[in-house]
């Protein structure tokens, strides 16, 4: 494989990334877009995006790991748009670069936490996205899951000073107002609407979606709990849903990383096989009948 650092995007607000290309590309090649988790660097927590890029390359999948505008080594954005719109613009520039450098025109997006929010918005509007993996990006826990989390916290509270501090900070935030946050931070309703719109579009297009949730953020799940009331909506049948209780949100343990990498690479391989046999129209994003969810649902 080759790894090439690249600068791209608008002349007055350059983006930075590393393009990883396998030694040999298959007949219907894919490239995976990997971006920041939160405000962190493009390499990802515990260097997970580097590890993922190299494993994907061994499977014949190229990737571009990049810093969104204002993060890592990328310049600050020049526009005044919202952060999701800016993120989508950055990802579109990334796709353009990949196509120019490799000829690849179909993409996967693996988004960690907030990274998946940008990926969902991109996939909703751009049919070149052939698969979307959301890791702890959206969660609408039902009462049962919320209660499980509350119970876990209550049990841990007497022994866990950091948890007490976390709760005290949250309370202080409610009383005094939060500190720095995104100016256009969405309300929970907006967030849910954004998810519903994106997932509906992807289901209609037959684009595979894996929604993966960690045990550290969500504690318990008895089946699609994180989809909340949306579990009954038609698009939910299209989502491949995984809850992994042993995975930690920032992949801080090596065991978490192994599970995550195995899941992500297996999912990518299945999307790769699927797109390899898909008709050209599907690749171009023509509206299609919802496809059955991938194995493992």
């Amino acid at each position: 494989m080759t790894e090439t650092p690249v600068r791209f995007g608008p002349e007055d607000a350059r983006l930075m990334g590393v393009l990883t290309v396998p030694d040999a590309l298959p007949a219907a090649p894919l490239a995976c877009l990997l971006i920041n988790q939160g405000a962190g660097h493009r390499t990802g927590p515990a260097r997970i995006n580097v590890k993922l890029a190299r494993r994907l390359a061994r499977q014949g999948i190229a990737s571009l790991r990049l810093d969104l505008a204002g993060l890592g080594d990328s310049d600050a954005p020049r526009g005044n748009g919202g952060h999701v719109e800016q993120g989508v613009a950055d990802l579109l520039a990334a796709m353009q670069l990949v196509e120019t450098m490799t000829g690849i025109r179909r993409f996967l997006h693996i988004g960690l936490c907030m990274g998946g929010v940008y990926g969902a918005a991109l996939a909703q509007q751009d049919p070149r996205v052939a698969g979307l993996l959301l890791f702890d990006s959206f969660a609408f826990p039902r009462r049962r899951a919320a209660l499980a989390l509350a119970l876990r916290r209550i049990v841990a509270l007497p022994f866990n000073a950091s948890l007490r501090e976390k709760i005290a900070n949250a309370l202080r935030g409610r009383i005094h107002g939060r500190g720095a946050q995104l100016a256009d931070a969405p309300t929970p309703e907006d967030h849910a609407q954004r998810f519903r719109a994106a997932m509906s579009a992807l289901a209609a297009r037959g684009t595979p979606v894996l929604m993966l949730s960690s045990g550290s953020l969500h504690v318990a799940d008895r089946g699609h709990d994180q989809l909340g009331e949306m579990a009954g909506e038609p698009f939910a049948q299209h989502i491949e849903y995984r809850f992994e209780p042993a995975i930690e949100h920032t992949l801080v343990t090596l065991a978490s990383q192994r599970v995550f990498l195995d899941l992500a690479c297996d999912w990518a391989r299945r999307v790769q096989q699927r797109t390899a046999v898909a008709p050209a129209g599907a690749a171009a994003g023509r509206a299609a009948r919802p496809a059955p969810a991938l194995a493992g649902c």
């Binding site: 790894e3 650092p5 690249v6 600068r7 350059r14 930075m16 590393v18 405000a39 962190g40 660097h41 493009r42 390499t43 927590p45 515990a46 260097r47 997970i48 580097v50 993060l71 890592g72 080594d73 989390l149 876990r152 916290r153 049990v155 841990a156 007497p158 022994f159 866990n160 000073a161 950091s162 948890l163 501090e165 976390k166 900070n169 500190g179 045990g215 550290s216 953020l217 504690v219 930690e248 949100h249 920032t250 992949l251 801080v252 343990t253 090596l254 978490s256 990383q257």
Partner: protein, 278 residues
């Protein structure tokens, strides 16, 4: 800002060169020797901003990732102290090739400072000045802090009761040292870190050194005094800051990617390395 790869064929490294934004030839150059693991992950944006500011002041800057870290080739577990010291020397050669024959300062943070101090002994036409920010001088303590930070993240993240984890930390000296905070450490590197003691970190007499360390860092203070007693030109500057090298050190409400105090402090000392040496 130019991303690049450099170094010998079997050990290429990822780096970013910042030419002076003035468009003029640089008056001086700075090599940034970053920390490791999560400390590097958290510091990346800070290093970018620091480099930009230095470039605006006419200083050429090279920052890079050691083998097996950041964007450089290699796996987490491939890192070792001697190899990383060689990476510092390779980065220095690359900086000199790009910046020309100008005074060069090295700025190392945490373990990067320790590596830089060691690498300066062997580097051809090495630095005129070395700035060490919160250097790691006691490897065992560093390893201990990393595994405690690791346990702390697990405790916070999973909302776990503490006693079991604390018992494991106390009973098993190696608990959580294989991959503290998610970054794998080879058995060899762990052993090298355990053997890292202040007495084994020696400064070269060929360059001046400034040690920026927290006022309560008694190890850094004692070490700087010992080096001075050996006639090494060392200046120790107590430097209190609120930057948390790891997530668990970050105080609530002070979570910033680019902390102002360290930025100003480093800028002030790196703009003119020749003056700092004098």
């Amino acid at each position: 800002m130019t991303p690049l790869t450099f170094g010998p064929a079997g050990r290429r490294l990822f780096g970013i060169f910042h030419a002076p934004a003035t468009g003029l030839a640089p008056a001086s150059a700075v090599l940034l020797c970053p920390p490791m693991g999560q400390e590097l992950f958290r510091a990346q944006r800070f290093l970018r901003v620091l480099s930009d500011r230095l470039a605006r002041a006419g200083v050429a800057v090279l920052r890079f990732d050691y083998h097996g870290t950041g964007d450089s080739p290699g796996d987490d577990e491939d890192g070792d102290m001697a190899g990383w010291q060689g990476d510092v020397a390779a980065a220095h050669a690359e900086l000199r090739r790009r910046a020309g024959a100008v005074p060069v300062a090295w700025c190392g943070a945490r373990l990067g400072a320790t590596l830089a101090a060691a690498a300066a002994h062997a580097a051809a036409q090495g630095p005129q000045h070395l700035l060490m920010w919160d250097p790691v001088l006691d490897g065992a303590a560093y390893l201990r802090a990393l595994r405690e930070a690791h346990a702390s993240v697990l405790i916070k993240s999973f909302c776990l009761p503490v006693p079991g984890l604390r018992r494991r930390l106390a009973a098993e000296p190696d608990a959580y040292t294989e991959g503290p905070l998610g970054y794998g450490l080879s058995a060899r590197l762990r052993q090298e870190l355990r053997e890292l003691v202040p007495q084994r970190v020696a400064l070269s007499p060929a360059h001046g050194t400034t040690v920026l360390a927290m006022p309560q860092d008694a190890t850094a203070q004692a070490w700087a005094e010992a080096q001075r007693a050996l006639a090494r030109p060392v200046q120790r500057v107590p430097f209190a800051h609120t930057w948390g090298w790891t997530e668990d050190q970050q105080r609530p409400g002070q979570a910033t990617m680019v902390p102002a105090e360290p930025l100003q402090q480093l800028l002030q000392r790196l703009r003119a390395p020749a003056e700092a040496t004098a």
